[in-house]
Symmetry: C2
Subunit: 244 residues, 2 copies
DNA sequence: CTCTAGAAGATTGTCAACAATCTACGAAAG
DNA sequence: CTTTCGTAGATTGTTGACAATCTTCTAGAG
């Protein structure tokens, strides 16, 4: 279980991947302590890079740090994942508006996004919920990149990395997604960007967030659905922030 | 020039403060390299905490990291600071909406915000542009905290830490601010939150962003003001994202 | 029986030395 | 004169050991 020094990726980043994967596959669970020495030994490296990796994970909110008391795997709540979607709704709509105002439909990066969208049509991808989620988020990320707003895309990408982990940790099942409807919404979004229809694009984006969160909420096991729909955050997604 | 191990703050965080201060006072300038060994020697500590501090600064976009090639002080552009304000406009409006929907006006934290607002009326604070900026941002941060949205407030606080540095580095003069008008806008905002007037609050927030950016643009020495007002980001602040 | 004080162990924080990588300078070839 | 290559120096990446801090367990007082 040792790490090869792959080119193009630092040791600390490998630690990040390993720990994130361990959370995704259930080996590490919320509240588990991350002992630097143990992880270092298991990975066959020293504590330095492990420490650095843990700090990176803390910046992504996947672990929480306590001074002189180590790090533990974060315990996200359903409200946390809703907050992630509130952020994506808000910053995503900023990025999309900006991309449209830049007339990016002719840029080569636009085609990159289209290629990523096509991956969602691949039956093999559709067969694996996790693959589907990754592909979906990668497509969205490519769209946001069109804006050229690095700070905003950085935050969006961070939320995108968190989503699979949060979903896994919360025990949300992402299975019964209507793939055809999802792709259709994305097609609308792409078409709206291409034709400079700002309002249509924002509507498509809102639709997407709304359906995705609706899907999550239905698949959430802690079945107090009524309570969830009473959360202010849920109101946020359903109502007001779309028409201030 | 050595560091005392103050309680409640880690060595790495002291490194962050020192470097940030050095940028603010002009000792460190954009493009300057940050040599771990040099900084460690100057501060009388070892490279470990210095390294950690530099990574923290990189997460805040104040320095840029290049693999195996060290860190340099970031060279923000005028567009970068505009992007910061686009983020604050978007996420700030989300946080404020959320705070209002929570009926926070009765919470003790609301009074904390009021106290911070009063600091802006202090003549001594008004005398020092940097103090004024800090006090203003602290007040805004207290308002955002009312939302209880930790992820969103974390991003907002990060932008707040960047603003003084960006202003300094870009050579923006923040002198001719109309303090009375600034405070009046904030009073409107507070009153709107207290009385649950969501639209009034959002309008007050938009006003604030708009005036602040207008102020910045006027005080920007690279005097191509017309060009600045043609930037898509400026359109973003002036127009469309306020009424989708 | 419960609560507090203290010592032993576990774990993080820090350090200095070593290894790997990059940069800059200069010599040789074209 | 320009370009390429190679070496020396500078700097980052990594490591293992030590110091400081926290946690846990036990003994004793109440």
């Amino acid at each position: 279980m040792s790490l090869e020094p792959l080119p193009g990726i630092s040791t600390a980043e490998m630690v990040v991947q390993r720990i994130r994967d361990a959370i995704l596959e259930g080996t590490l669970r919320p509240g588990d302590r991350l002992i630097e020495a143990d992880i270092a030994a298991e990975l066959g490296i020293s504590r330095g890079p492990v420490r650095e990796g843990i700090r990176l994970l803390a910046a992504e909110a996947l672990v929480v740090l306590r001074r002189n008391r180590g790090a533990v795997v974060a315990s996200p709540t359903f409200e946390d994942i809703l907050e992630v979607y509130v952020v994506r709704k808000g910053l995503g709509s900023l990025a999309l508006q900006h991309a449209i105002s830049l007339d990016v439909a002719t840029a080569p990066e636009f085609d990159d996004a289209l290629v990523l969208l096509d991956r969602l049509r691949d039956p093999e991808v559709q067969g694996d919920p996790l693959l589907m989620m990754d592909a979906d988020l990668a497509f969205q990320s490519a769209l946001f990149d069109l804006s050229g707003l690095e700070r905003i895309t950085a935050v969006l990408d961070q939320t995108a990395r968190d989503i699979p982990v949060f979903v896994r940790v919360l025990g949300i099942t992402y299975d019964s997604v209507d793939h055809a409807a999802l792709i259709e919404r994305h097609d609308h979004l792409v078409e709206a960007i291409r034709t400079h229809h700002r309002d249509a694009a924002l509507r498509a984006w809102d639709d997407h967030i709304r359906s995705t969160v609706g899907e999550f909420s239905r698949g959430y096991p802690d079945a107090q659905i009524e309570r969830i729909f009473d959360l202010p955050l849920m109101h946020h997604i359903l109502d007001y922030s779309s028409q201030p």
